[in-house]
């Protein structure tokens, strides 16, 4: 039982999960705090910590230097305050910047060792068995030594996805899919060329910090004219490394290639009031296309606004080649604070960027999220569909930039921002920035704000649905355009997440 307790503390799962386990295991013990002292690097960040992280990852000297330069720069920066977010000042020296995965003896070895109630909760989240296992901390994720992977996990793993079978298949196709720390060692030429080329070290406070201290992340390279034979996902990584506070993802889609990438931050999270600052860089060459889908469900804090994750993420795609395409789809249901603007640099002629977003905030959650569409090339196109849902005492802001540069002749943007309010103590805000510096481009912006209608609620309830079912149904309808942009299995999961994250928002 102790193992499960610790695990939950570490992963900082959905409150409900914690409740479920509590009810099963008796009082929830916070014994993991000592554990953290033992397993985490000392608190705070300084050049020694940066070197320690680099050292743990067995990095070459150039990488260590890159990090140290970033750190020196970060020390001179101030935390930005322009977002419509209100949170206590973060003491950056009161954080852990590196956490080692727990030793395997402490982890559940197979599904049989995992609390069934915990599994049930994951099931409720709509996560397939493989992920249930991973999220529950069962061994078998990629980075573990082969001996550790034995046990029954292998079989379950194989039957559901990723695993080694696919690794081989990916390799055959020429696709490189590995952790960024592995890529730094195995493919230094690619990493050197592209890392920091989309989100420069100097980009912003959190990105600079990330550049100094990122512990791991994913690396993807799709060779020219290759359609990645399957969707790639970062699900496994969350557990495998058991760190992930500062992830770095680098995706390179070479000429004429295609990849669909899924990022699932579903359910797991560390402890309360913790910092998560990730950077994702995507490079898209001529005629290549990347779809990047996220379902973010970090711990949102409790119903009184206590705890939760501060999520400061910089995601950017650079459509370098002509006719290149990127599509961001995000479902943001978790985190106490979200600061995130997945952006598209439309450099290549006729390149296209799309951004589909659902951001749900309940209780005391705050989200300031949106996108940047920077049109640099001629005949570029972008489309933004944002659906913000606020309940409880939450604040939800759409902040988006559409910029048409002088050379972006004949470019187009269409933006649609819809906000839905549940109750009368929450807020929705739309902050569009539009810059047009040529006279042949067109920008359209539509925005609506509505409330969940009493009539709709009564209609649904008269047909037999309870209040929560009714709200979930209405909200899923409101967000349908975005849900449809998600890959099938993700869409199902997202729908259920909508329902779960709005629990307690009515009545």
């Amino acid at each position: 039982m102790a193992g499960v307790d610790e695990l939950i503390a570490k992963e900082g799962v959905e409150e409900e999960t914690v409740e479920a386990v509590k009810s099963l295991a008796g009082a929830y013990k916070y014994g993991w705090e000592t554990e953290i002292e033992m397993e985490y690097a000392p608190k705070g960040v300084n050049p020694d910590i940066v070197r320690l992280i680099s050292d743990k990852n067995d990095e070459p000297e150039w990488m260590t230097e890159w990090r140290l330069e970033a750190f020196a720069r970060w020390e001179k920066l101030d935390e930005p305050s322009w977002a419509l977010l209100n949170y206590p000042e973060i003491d950056f020296q009161d954080q852990y910047y590196y956490a080692r995965p727990k030793s395997m003896e402490e982890k559940p070895k197979s599904l049989d060792d995992v609390d069934p109630k915990l599994l049930e909760t994951y099931k409720k989240l709509g996560i397939p068995l493989k992920e249930q296992m991973i999220l529950a901390g069962v061994d078998g994720a990629e980075d573990m030594p082969a001996e550790g992977r034995k046990v029954a996990v292998d079989a379950v793993f194989d039957s559901v996805s990723v695993g080694t079978t696919f690794q081989a298949e990916l390799k055959k196709a020429g696709v490189i899919f590995c952790s960024i720390s592995e890529a730094i060692k195995e493919h230094p030429e690619l990493v050197k060329k592209y890392l920091g080329s989309v989100v420069p070290v100097s980009d912003n406070y959190y990105a600079t910090l990330n550049s100094a201290v990122f512990s791991d992340g994913s690396f993807v390279y799709i060779p020219p004219n290759t359609r990645c034979p399957m969707e790639l996902s970062t699900y496994f990584r969350i557990n495998a490394e058991n760190t992930g506070q500062f992830e770095r993802t680098l995706i390179i889609a070479d000429k004429g290639s295609y990849v669909s990438y899924l990022e699932g931050c579903t359910a797991p999270q560390r402890d309360t009031a913790q910092l998560h600052a990730a950077v994702v860089e995507i490079i898209i060459e001529e005629d290549a296309e990347v779809k990047y889908s996220t379902v973010q469900n970090w711990y949102p804090g409790d119903e009184n606004g206590k705890g939760g994750i501060y999520n400061f993420v910089t995601k950017r795609a650079d459509c370098r080649g002509d006719r290149s395409k990127v599509m961001w789809t995000q479902v943001e249901t978790g985190s106490a604070v979200t600061w995130k603007y997945p952006s598209c640099i439309l450099r290549g002629a006729e390149s296209q960027g799309e951004f589909y977003s659902i951001a749900i905030t309940n209780n005391y959650q705050q989200a300031d999220t949106g996108t940047k569409m920077v049109h640099l090339g001629r005949d570029t196109k972008s489309r933004i569909v944002s659906k913000g849902i606020s309940a409880g005492k939450a604040q939800n802001t759409y902040r988006g930039l559409v910029s048409m540069h002088p050379k972006a002749k004949n470019s187009r943007n269409y933006t649609q921002c819809d906000s839905l309010l549940i109750g009368d103590k929450c807020g929705a805000h739309t902050v569009p920035y539009i810059e047009v510096k040529n006279n042949s481009s067109r920008v359209e912006h539509e925005a609506t704000t509505s409330k969940v209608d009493e009539e709709q609620m009564f209609y649904c309830r008269q047909r037999g649905m309870d209040e929560e079912e009714a709200v979930a149904l209405i909200v899923n309808g409101f967000a349908k355009e975005v849900l449809q942009a998600l890959p099938m299995e993700f869409a199902m999961e997202a729908q259920q997440l909508v329902a779960i994250s709005l629990e307690g928002s009515v009545g």
């Binding site: 209608d453 037999g464 409101f478």
Partner: protein, 252 residues
């Protein structure tokens, strides 16, 4: 089946008494009609029975098969077998009609401790019922009531009724906004559902609906009370002479 006893209801927001002692009993398998002038409280009665917010019951009670209705949440009343066909069916953008129906059917089953209907069974079921009401596949896929014509909306209400198989159906001015053909179609749908275990309370302004859905008993409601009850001939009387005569007769 449905028993209403001395029901007094006022608006929650203002001090206005709408129902002033309604007594009504609809036995199993019977069709009762309520007619009455505007503002007599007919629609309020349907809302209060189905549990809509905004009303306060100041006296009396209502039971469905002996169960106290007014203490239940709207969804509990639905699961207990009460169905209201809305006068103005509500639009729910983005929610497919089929999804809505399936969620409703399964919610009620769950509430009654029954197993949820499988996707395949549901599909078979809904297609058969839709066919009877001349509802095509396209209408099942469209968002609930969005862009539906008046006739389509009412047919959709009857489809929901057919799918949910309630014991007690209240039709609130189902004929409003319908042309003759649509009214016929809707009435046929309702008549097909008539059953010895199922009762209907048909609220209407006009006698013409009752040509299609033949009632066992007709009640006249005025100023928050049932003032007169009789056979189908009472509806004809209203049709010919209006409400004035009946009201005068009662005042006298």
């Amino acid at each position: 089946m449905l028993k209403i006893n001395n029901l007094h209801v006022k608006l929650e927001e203002e001090d206005k008494q709408i129902l002033k002692g309604v007594d009504l009993e609809v036995p199993a398998g019977k069709v009762h009609a309520i007619m009455g002038p505007n503002g007599s409280g007919k629609s309020t009665l349907s809302y209060v029975l189905s549990g809509r917010d905004g009303y306060e019951v100041t006296a009396g009670d209502a039971t469905l098969d002996g169960e106290e209705l007014l203490d239940m949440e709207p969804e509990e009343r639905a699961a207990a077998g009460l169905f209201l066909a809305f006068q103005y069916p509500v639009e729910i953008p983005g929610v497919g009609n089929m999804t809505f129906l399936r969620t409703a059917v399964n919610a009620q089953r769950k509430a009654r401790g029954e197993e949820e209907m499988s996707a395949a069974d549901f599909l078979k079921f809904v297609r058969a019922k839709a066919k009877d009401l001349k509802i095509d596949a396209d209408m099942l896929k469209r968002p609930v009531n969005v862009g539906f014509s008046g006739g389509e909306k009412k047919r959709n209400e009857i489809l929901q009724m057919a799918m949910l198989e309630p014991k007690m159906c209240i039709l609130d001015e189902t004929d409003s906004g319908l042309d003759v053909d649509a009214m016929k179609l809707v009435s046929e749908g309702v008549n097909a559902l008539r059953d010895e275990g199922r009762s209907f309370l048909v609220i209407t302004h006009y006698q013409r609906l009752l040509d299609h859905i033949k009632p066992d008993v007709v009640h006249i409601m005025a100023a928050g009370r049932i003032v007169k009850s009789g056979g189908p001939e009472l509806a004809l009387e209203v049709e010919h002479n209006g409400y004035a005569d009946i009201l005068a007769e009662i005042d006298a």
